[in-house]
Structure formats: C-alpha cells, structure tokens
Symmetry: C2
Subunit: 474 residues, 2 copies
C-alpha cells in the first residue's frame, strides 16, 4: 500500500476521535465478555433536497488509514483513566492500548456514483472493535461524500468548462478546506485556490490577484501593470474592483503592453455584478482589441443552479471559481432560494451479529418507517445496459447477482490486512468522471432529475418484514 | 502567554494554508518594493437568515497562534519553488522563510456578542505580511463564529436546561468537530460527546449508550441490565430502540435493581418520535415508580426552533443533545422548513494604507451597494444603559468614544508581540454567558428578534461618500 497522502488532524491523538458512548458501550461489552462478531454498514437514507438523485462516494482512504492504525497511546490512556472517573477499567484500557483491528471491510471505491440506502462501507469484526469507528467513519465519509456529490453537480452544470474550488475561506475549519478540496477534485474540479491542498494531495493550485492589490495602487491601470510585470506569462487580471467595464478596457491596455513583450494576456476575472451581461460585454471588449484567446473567469456565490443559468444564457465564460456552496456541500437551490442544512445524514447501523456460530440479522425499528433499517449483511449489484447504468439491486451478501451486473462493494481489509491498493487521487478523479458518463443524463439534470432505480431483493424485504413482526410480538 | 491548547491540523505545514493569490499578490508587491503599511479588517456584513440578530465572536486563539508562528519551512519553500514554475522568486521565498510578523492586531475577545459590519479583527502591518493571513483568518473565524452564534441561540432556547453538543458525526471533517465543539462550549453548551474535544480543550465529555448495545442483546431488559452493571453510578439508558414506552418500563425495572444496590437511575434518553408527547408519558412512568430524580434527555435533529417548541409545550425535558444543526451552524428554520447555506460570509478587507507617512483610507465599491466597504481603521464602542447593551457605534480609530461606552477591539499583538493573555476556555464561556445576559431579551428571541442598533459615525459616513464620489470621477 502506498504511503498515505493526507496526514491527519491532531495526529497521534485521533484514537480519541470518538463519541464517548463508543467507549462506555465497549466497556460494558468487555465486562460481559461479548465476543459477538458483528457487521455494521455506513449508508445514506436520503439525498438532501436540491442535491439531485445520485451521490459520489468519498472519504474511504482517510477511514482506512484511521482503522488500520488504530491504537490508544499511553498518554491518551492515562488521560482517559483520570478523566472518566471509574467509568473505564484498567482491563478495557489495556485492550485498547494493544488494539489491532482484525476484521474485514468491504466498501465502494471512492469516486463511485451511489444511491440512497446502498451500503457504502460494510465492516465486520468483534463487536467492541467495530463500534470504535462509528464517529470517525461518519465524520469523514459524510462530509467528503457530500462535497463530492455537490462538486459532481457543479461540474455537470459547467458543461466542460473549468471548475475551480475556491472554498477555503468558508470551509468549516482547516480540515474541511483540505478534505473538501480533495472531494471536489475527485468529482471533477480542476484545481483549488488552496496551496496546502496542492502540497498534501497534489491538487493543482491556482490563483488570480486580490482586490487589495488593485485598491492599494493609485490606479487600476498601475496595479494591472505591476502585476503583469511580475507574471507576464501568467497574467489573470481581476477587473471588478471599481467598474468591470472600465476594468476590461484597462486589461486590454495591459494586454497590448504584454503583447509587445511577446506575452499573451491569459485571462480576466469577474467577481461581482450581473455575470451573464458583464461577461458578454467584456468578451466583446476583449475580442475587439484582438484578445480572442484571453479567458473569462467568473466567481461570486456560484453553484450548479447559477452556472446552469449563466450557460443557458450563452454567457461566454471559460471558467468558474466556486467557493462557499461547493465546500459546504450546500443543498441550496439558488433559483428557488430554498435550502436546508449543509450536511449529509449518513448513518452507521448494526445489521448482523454472529453469536456462537449462528448468524442473526438485526434491525433498528423506527416509528418513522423510513428510518427502519434493512437487516443483514449486504452487497450491491449495478446492472448495465448498452454500457450505461440500468438500475442497482441490494441483496443479501450471499445471494446470486443479477444478470449483467457488477458488485459495488470490494474487499478493502481482510483479516485485518489492507488488501486494497488505493489509486492515486488523479486516477480516482478519472474513474469518477468515467463512471458519471455511464449514468444516463436524466439522472444528472441540475433541476428535477429522475430517481434511479434501486431494488431491494425479495429475500431482504422478507427478512425485514419478519423481524418487524417478531419485534411487535415481543 | 499560556501554552496553546489546540494544536493545529497538518502541523508544520500550515504556512501553506493560504489561497495562492496571497502569494502572487505578495510576490508582485515584493517585486515592486511595496512598503505600504496597511490595515485589513475581518467583519461580517449580514447574519444569515434564521440565525437571529447577534453573533458571538470565536476563533481568535487559533488565528493568533497561526500568525505569531508564521514561517515557511525549508520543505514548503522547496516545494513551492518547484511547483509554482517561475511564479515565485528566490528573493520572495527567502522573505517568507525568514518571516516574522511585526505588526499589530486588535480584536474583539472571544465570546463577545457582535453585530453586522463591526470589525471583529483589525490587523496592521506591511502589505505583504497582512495579506498572507486572509484565508486562515476567514476559515477559522467564520466557522467558529458561526457555530458560537448558533450555540448561543440553542442555549437561549433551552431556558437553562442542559445543552450537549453531539455533532462530530456530521461535522465537516475532524477539525470542524473539534473547533465546533469549542465554539459551542464558548457559547454555553455544557459538554460534548466527542472525547477528543475533552482531551484537546478540556470540554466535559459525556455519553449514554448506543442503539447497537440494545440490538445485540436478546432483549432490551438484558441490555439495560448489563449496561447498569458496568456503570451503576452513571446509568443513562437509551429507551427508543424498539418502543419508547416499553423502554421506559424496562428502565424502571433496572432502576429498582440499581436502587437495591444503593444506586440511582441517572437518566433515560429518547432519540426519536414525538418528543413532546413521549417525554410526558415517560416522565409519568418514571414518577409513578418513584424515579422523580431520573433525568430525561432527548436528541433527534434538534435545533433552537424545536427546543423552543418542546419547552413551550411544557415537555419535561432536562437535557438536549444537539448534533447536525449545531455543528454546521445551520441557518435553517425547522418551523418554516426554510434555510440557506450553512456558512458565515465574513470578509477580510483593506480599509487603510499608510504610504510614505500619509494615511489613505481605502474603499471597495460594489454595484451591490450593501457590499461597498466602509473605509478607514475603525474601533467599535458599546454603550450601556442600566448595565444592558444600548447600541454600538463604529467610529474612526482616533474618534472620541460615545458616553458610557467601552471599546470592543482590544490589543492582541503589538509590534509583533502577543500582549493579550488568552483566558482559559471555561473563562471564555463564563464571560460569554455574562455578556449575553446584558443583551436585552428582544434581541435574543428565537424567532423574529429585533435588530440591534449599530451606528456608523458621521465622520465615517462622510469619508465613505467622499471616496465613492472620487471613484466615480476617476
């Protein structure tokens, strides 16, 4: 396995990245010699409103890194002993300090399009061990899957134009900026403004110029000239500090000066105003002065809805810088001005236990019937027609696959050993873009996409009904 | 200064936590020997819809830690040189490698209630230096201020009942879980489910029991019994795995067993269903069996709107576990089911430059007049009446303060030295709760609070108008 490319936050202390009930539950299991082998799965019940009909799986690499290295440090142990009062026993803490995960993990590779209720990750192991990872898996995979999903929509809306991730300033903390940049890149963005995303993950980093640079000089023209002198081969001018049209004319003046020195004016950037109208006027100004090759980049509270609208109006835009709404995975529809909470509600649920050799499927019943879980360890098969996705089927682990299908969950850890070779991030990105091409257009529309068919096998349905009946009769 | 309590993500590499334009702008400044001293301020133009009429400042400690230690490592430098092509010169990278911030920072202490357009942080220093911190300041302060603001609303809605932060599983990455827990604690939550928040920040960590623990046993009663045996002094039972009312009765059975051993049943937790109705029934069941001291805790997609509704219905709830909507700072109104993007749109803007000894206020004009900045280095004074906040005034730095007022921005770094003593987090929390008490009730209502008066001084208004005129005539 390749060296992990994204060292973790608060390194060496991450074994404590868990909700306390994972330790109290574990300790009570330990006290009562619970030796069950269990299976829990991570899945998403519902795609948030306004976020379309498919998701893009992301976050697996960070999760496997965590699980395969999990171990309580001496210092953490001491601290837990002290601060938990009598809650956590010496014996249980010993167990955690000598921890080594020996179970199995199957998961959907990063970059794979997935749908509601499909297991994205399935983990089997001793009960105490498996529960330790709940918070971490949910944290890392909910967020990255959310942003990859959003980014995929933005990239679709951009119809082949460049999408750049500009979100660090509005990301929820530093890790969100990096992981968000990662998820966005997986789903097809071309680069990030964040230099550290470049360093940690090899994502191309890019930048134009700050408003401040213009504001500080006596004139916009002087600012443009100084900037162009420093980056003659790579000049992208920000033209909206005072007046975008005047800015475009000033950019042409500088473009001519560059031309005399043998360089091209690479681009201009618009960051405010009516982007559809302004981009057309700016294009005309540039073209009239012979700057047909100069690109127009725009930014300003963009998302897939706005980008779709701009391109539907034939705005001559070459690249989109997308910030807040991408990095937060906002499920906000900027046309209807309605949204909800910027989060993916993925859950981690017990589906099966093996007690004394006997396999017992498990259910969590909810008055909200949508929330009642589907019991049993499961596989997902994706069927194909003319090389396009033609519906998925969720089945019990050992059921026969449907015709012309492939399984989505692949082996990641077996008997505690990582058996999966994590692809390079750029390969994950390529894979994702290829898979998205196989998803028929009607499921990818920005507004009102159709719902993709995910069948739950008859056996699974029967099993669920049986367990519901049993619980009622108890 | 106390030892920093929250080591940073991706430690030693954080000097690259910046948008690339901060380096290109800096390099062009460097090339052209820009020796201007400038002032930039961080402020929030507008509180997101549904998030009330005040904010709670948070994030300063992480920002000061970053700035006071800022320096490019040799490795980062080498990497930048290689990957930026010819963009960044040896001389400029030398400058960054030997960097030491020598400027000044004034800021509003963490935990202070603040209002739109008020500078929260004001930084003065060489132009190149000050721009390096833009992304970091925005990232850390936007997020923590957002969550502290949300948490303050949740705590107000809870009317003195306990609020626990349960958000890690839906936080945007690992850092968001920790920083969100921090911000939430500052604004009055009592503890966090996240153990690492306890370790890093001294926040009390708490937990009940997982559904899984119940699902795994043959019966709920058996699960409760095993859990109680492990934590007789600290038993909080999760009673909704199958049927909440049956769960409450089972909890009473265990409560009696505990009683025989000399322990009390500490609490029960409801995590689904109609919490107003169920909490009343559960309270009756507990009371009838003599468990009047047993607390009822609830969770399940809570926010300030739901908590307010529950308590308005006299639901006998003692504590609220609040997750997704707290840790994402969701500006979602669960009554009207409308929301936007879970982010705070704070900005970092140039307001003044000092060139060859001359002070020149600066403006950024926008067609969207709301976005036009107020030029000049500024202070904020808070006025008081009967010891309650009675309106703020934003003034030029050297204007006279209004009567009966105190300045909000205090010195943090002077001549490059940290002069501010960061209080302990529990003291920040206490300060915040005291300050919120001084904010009259009408500004704190969950729904439709009044707008607090923030005056912009006449001098500032005149200055702004003058610069707008000048720009138009240019």
């Amino acid at each position: 396995m390749e060296k992990r490319r994204s060292k973790l936050v608060y390194e060496n202390e991450l074994a404590l990245f868990l909700d306390y009930y994972e330790l109290t539950g574990g300790k009570a299991d330990f006290d009562h010699k619970n030796t069950d082998m269990i299976t829990e799965t991570f899945f998403v019940r519902k795609i948030p409103k306004n976020l379309g009909s498919y998701m893009v799986a992301a976050g697996l690499e960070q999760v496997i890194d965590f699980i395969s290295n999990y171990k309580l440090s001496k210092e953490d142990r001491k601290w837990l002993k002290k601060t938990s009062g009598n809650d956590l026993s010496k014996e249980f803490l010993d167990y955690l300090e000598n921890f080594k995960f020996k179970g199995e993990i199957y998961a959907v590779p990063e970059g794979t399009p997935i749908f509601p209720n499909e297991p994205i990750l399935s983990i089997t192991g001793p009960s105490i061990d498996v529960q330790l990872f709940e918070t971490y898996i949910l944290n890392v995979m909910n967020f990255q899957t959310l942003v990859a999903t959003k980014a995929s929509r933005v990239v679709n809306a951009a119809r082949g134009k460049t999408v750049l991730e500009f979100g660090a300033r509005r990301a929820h903390g530093r890790d969100a900026a990096i992981l968000g940049s990662r998820a966005s890149y997986i789903a097809g963005s071309t680069g990030s403004a964040l230099v550290l995303a470049g360093k940690k993950l090899g994502i191309p980093y890019i930048g134009t110029m700050p408003h401040k640079f213009v504001q500080e000089r006596d004139s916009e023209l002087k600012a443009f000239r100084e900037y162009a002198e420093s980056f003659p081969h790579n000049t992208i001018l920000l033209i909206d500090t005072y007046d975008t049209i005047r800015g475009a004319k000033n950019a042409c003046t500088i473009g001519k000066e560059l031309r005399e020195k043998g360089f091209d004016l690479k681009g201009v950037r618009l960051d405010s105003g009516d982007l559809a109208e302004l981009s057309k006027i700016v294009r005309e100004i540039l073209d009239a002065e012979g700057f047909k090759q100069t690109k127009i980049m725009v930014s300003s509270d963009l998302d897939e809805y706005k980008i779709d609208e701009l391109l539907s109006k034939n705005a001559p835009i070459d690249g989109f810088g997308v910030g807040t709404r991408l990095i937060t995975g906002a499920n906000y529809n900027s046309s209807t001005k309605q949204g909800e909470v910027s989060a993916l509600g993925g859950v981690y649920k017990l589906v099966e236990i093996v007690k004394n050799g006997e396999t017992i499927p498990k259910i969590k019943i909810s008055e909200d019937t949508e929330k009642t879980t589907v019991p049993g360890k499961k596989q997902v098969y994706r069927t194909f027609k003319d090389n396009l996705f033609a519906g998925d089927e969720i089945v019990l682990w050992d059921e026969n696959p449907p015709k012309n299908s492939r399984p989505l969950l692949v082996g990641i850890i077996k008997k505690g050993r990582v058996v999966y070779e994590f692809p390079k991030l750029s390969d994950v990105r390529r894979y994702c873009l290829e898979e998205i091409l196989k998803l028929p257009e009607k499921y990818k529309r920005v507004a009102d996409p159709e719902t993709y068919t995910v069948k739950i096998s008859d056996k699974l349905r029967e099993l669920q009904q049986e367990l519901i009946r049993k619980s009622k009769n108890q």
